[in-house]
């Protein structure tokens, strides 16, 4: 049995990150370690994991075997065991493959992007740690192990976002991400605990839970489903916990590419898919998820149309795309959702890396209205970006088209027409804001050519090309039957409930055409407004959309500020001025009454005799009363 290799998929990045971390500390404390050593470890770990994952992938082809490896008993209380176990089924191996692959590419890209950074080693330490946590999340055989990866991902994203920690704003963004994630984790933990109590007696892993959950009453299941979804919301930046995602762009661009494209944010989608057996039992929660996804998608897309920061636009687009995925998984189209995760990984990573390349080339300029004419200067970046933009906009035959089409098809065929309408409308917006970006950056004329462009190393451009190819081809694993293809991903991931089969082919074609038209409409508007964009000054935006609907401000005043006030109220008002006042007041009062009583101690002999007289009188009176 080679099942123990499953653990090594996770362990390799962990060990590598540990070695890099120690080496980095060594490097800053004792003697400098050259960058290539870091790169060696940093780059080989994802590759090795990928190869291991691929070997499992090969073993899985053609059969339904589930690889399970229980490393050791993690915990045993009261007769219940919780194992540290790893499970590879088709879903998780699929995730492993593209996480490690895309992760590897981003690593390569980062080795170029971060070349001049002083914390080069630290970066790879974080990066590998992140990757390891993500793999743990995917490969965990039960909710607890999954949660470990889940939290590890959250923490490493904190580390990566606040990578440039000297600036408090970056750390603040990291904090925001972590706390928002923690809100989600709260939901996850509650769900986990509830599940443990209602269905954990036969073993707390996915395979057993699948059976045990069947006997759990529906209200409890609903509760679990909701709570779990709160976790997903936090991690995948959906309404209302999305606020951290735009701020998270404070980290280096490869971080944005890794975290906000391929991996971390999709964890929520993965989780819902992983718990499909649960959500299958409670379709009403699924519908709720789908609506949250749809609203998030629309909301993010609207905001994205007005942003100026290139990375923030991409961040909102990520949120929007994640919304799509949730529409799919919420409606039970798990394979569809995962399909979009897959394609999205490619084009979104590509977009971020392209954006990163532009940013680097322009000496860390992020405002798109200060860019322009990049098409000529960096043609390679332009072409790859164009491919990615087409892919995200849903233009056939690029990857995004197929997956998005399937999602909308799922929505339509489920009878949730509202979802479908939102989806289509969002598609228009998507195409619009993405091409707005493309036009302004690559065709625009705003950029003052007073500076020489920064050189883009091979390590940065090669991944772009690979990912561009991926963005073109990724969609072909899920070509709908209608177009004579075979839904590879659907069949790979198994016979999940997939309602898209219930519509007629003609409907499907109509829908597809509508999608394409929607995308084209968006592109057309963008073309009209922004082609060869030329504006001498950077435009100043105002308005509710540009201010992201003031969501941050609302949260600040409604929650953060209130909690701070409460904190001050508790620690200074209640504690100091109430409880401690009582405590100290008692003792001070005691001392004060001591001073009053001391007045009896006036040293007058006759007074003392008088007190004796009174005392004797009282005692005598008492005695007389008793004796009577």
């Amino acid at each position: 049995m080679s099942n123990f290799l499953l653990a090594w998929i996770v362990l390799i990045p962990f060990i590598s990150s540990f070695i890099i971390g120690v080496m980095y500390l060594y490097s800053i404390k004792v003697a400098r370690v050259p960058n290539f050593v870091f790169s060696l470890f940093g780059l080989s770990a994802p590759l090795l994991s990928f190869l291991l994952g691929f070997s499992f992938f090969l073993q899985m082809i053609g059969n339904d075997e589930i690889f399970l490896y229980k490393a050791y008993r993690w915990l045993e209380i009261d007769g219940y065991d919780i194992d540290m176990g790893f499970m590879a089924d088709k879903l998780s191996i699929f995730m492993v493959l593209f996480i490690t692959f895309v992760g590897w590419l981003i690593h390569i890209y980062a080795s170029g992007y971060m070349k001049d950074d002083k914390g080069y080693g630290k970066f790879f330490f974080y990066f590998n740690f992140f990757l390891a946590s993500m793999l743990l999340l995917v490969l965990g055989h039960g909710p607890i192990i999954m949660f470990m990866g889940w939290e590890g991902v959250g923490f490493s994203s904190y580390l990566l976002i606040s990578y440039y920690y000297e600036d408090g704003e970056n750390v603040k963004a990291g904090n925001k991400a972590f706390i928002a994630n923690r809100v989600g984790d709260f939901g996850f933990i509650v769900a986990m605990v509830t599940m443990f109590y209602y269905a954990g007696s036969n073993g707390f892993d996915f395979l057993n839970l699948k059976e045990s959950l069947l006997s759990v009453p529906v209200p409890v299941l609903t509760f679990i489903g909701f709570s779990l979804f709160v976790g997903a919301i936090g991690k995948s930046a959906q309404i209302p916990l999305f606020v951290w995602l735009p701020d998270a762009m404070a980290g280096p661009t490869p971080v944005s590419a890794l975290i906000h494209a391929a991996t971390m944010v999709t964890a929520g989608v993965y989780m819902v898919a992983r718990f499909h057996f649960l959500y299958d039992l409670i379709p009403h929660v699924g519908l709720f998820i789908a609506y949250v996804g749809a609203i998030s998608a629309l909301f993010a897309a609207i905001i994205a149309t007005k942003q100026t920061d290139i990375k923030k636009i991409l961040a909102y687009s990520t949120m929007s795309q994640l919304g799509y995925m949730f529409i799919a998984v919420g409606l039970g189209g798990y394979s569809v959702g995962i399909f979009h995760v897959f394609t999205h990984a490619f084009f979104k990573a590509l977009l971020f890396m392209g954006a990163g390349a532009v940013i680097v080339a322009l000496h860390h300029e992020q405002n798109i209205f200060k860019m322009g004419g990049m098409k000529k200067k960096t043609p390679l970046v332009y072409f790859t970006m164009l491919i990615a933009t087409l892919a995200i906009s849903g233009i056939p035959p690029f990857a995004g088209f197929f997956s998005k089409d399937e999602i909308l098809l799922t929505a339509f065929s489920s009878g949730e027409y509202l979802l479908w309408i939102i989806g289509v409308f969002t598609a228009i917006l998507t195409a619009y804001y993405m091409f707005r970006l493309l036009f302004v950056v690559f065709y625009g004329k705003n950029y003052k050519e007073d500076k020489k462009l920064h050189f883009l190393p091979k390590s940065m451009t090669t991944p772009l090309v690979i990912l561009a190819i991926g963005s073109i081809l990724a969609g072909f694993i899920g070509i709908p039957e209608l177009l004579g293809g075979e839904n590879l991903i659907g069949s790979w991931l198994g016979n999940w409930k997939n309602s898209s089969l219930h519509v007629t082919h003609s409907t499907e074609i109509i829908l597809m055409v509508i999608n394409i038209f929607a995308a084209l409409l968006g592109i057309f508007i963008a073309y009209k407004k922004f082609y060869m964009y030329d504006m001498k000054e950077v435009p100043i935006f105002t308005g509710i959309v540009w201010n992201k609907f003031y969501i941050d401000e609302i949260y600040d005043t409604l929650i953060v500020h209130k909690i701070k006030q409460l904190s001050i109220f508790i620690s200074y008002k209640i504690d100091v001025h109430f409880i401690d006042k009582i405590v100290m007041g008692l003792s001070r009062g005691f001392i004060r009454s001591g001073h009053y009583i001391a007045k009896m101690q006036n040293a007058n002999t006759r007074f003392y005799a008088f007190t004796m007289l009174i005392g004797i009188s009282v005692i005598s009176t008492y005695l007389i009363m008793v004796l009577r």
């Binding site: 001391a598 007045k599 006036n602 007058n604 002999t605 006759r606 005799a609 008088f610 007289l613």
Partner: protein, 106 residues
């Protein structure tokens, strides 16, 4: 018999009370001392009358002893009065208050 005993004891208690009140109300140390002596003598009176009542010599002896003790006390008292007078030139009990809490406090 018992009636006369009660009369004596009542007298003794009256004397005793006068003595006590004297200690409390008079300022002159001499008078205070005399008041205490009065109380002692009141008790002597009780013992002596009890001796008569029980027709026993024991209380009489006790009374003698009390007188002796009173004398011993008197010796201390009188010498102390001398010392007190020498220091403050007064025998007002109320001026001897340096040990009061207030004084030691400040």
């Amino acid at each position: 018999m018992i009636d006369s005993l009660l009369a004596y004891i009542t007298l003794a208690m009256i004397l005793f009370s006068i003595g006590f009140l004297g200690v409390v109300s008079r300022k002159n140390i001499f008078v205070i001392y005399m008041s205490i002596e009065l109380m002692l003598n009141a008790i002597n009176l009780i013992f002596v009358s009890l001796g008569r009542y029980y027709e026993s010599m024991q209380p009489q002896v006790i009374a003698m002893i009390i007188i002796a003790i009173a004398a011993a006390e008197a010796a201390v008292f009188l010498s102390l009065i001398v010392v007190l007078y020498r220091r403050k030139k007064s025998l007002n009990s109320d001026i001897f208050t340096i040990l009061s809490q207030k004084d030691s406090h400040e």
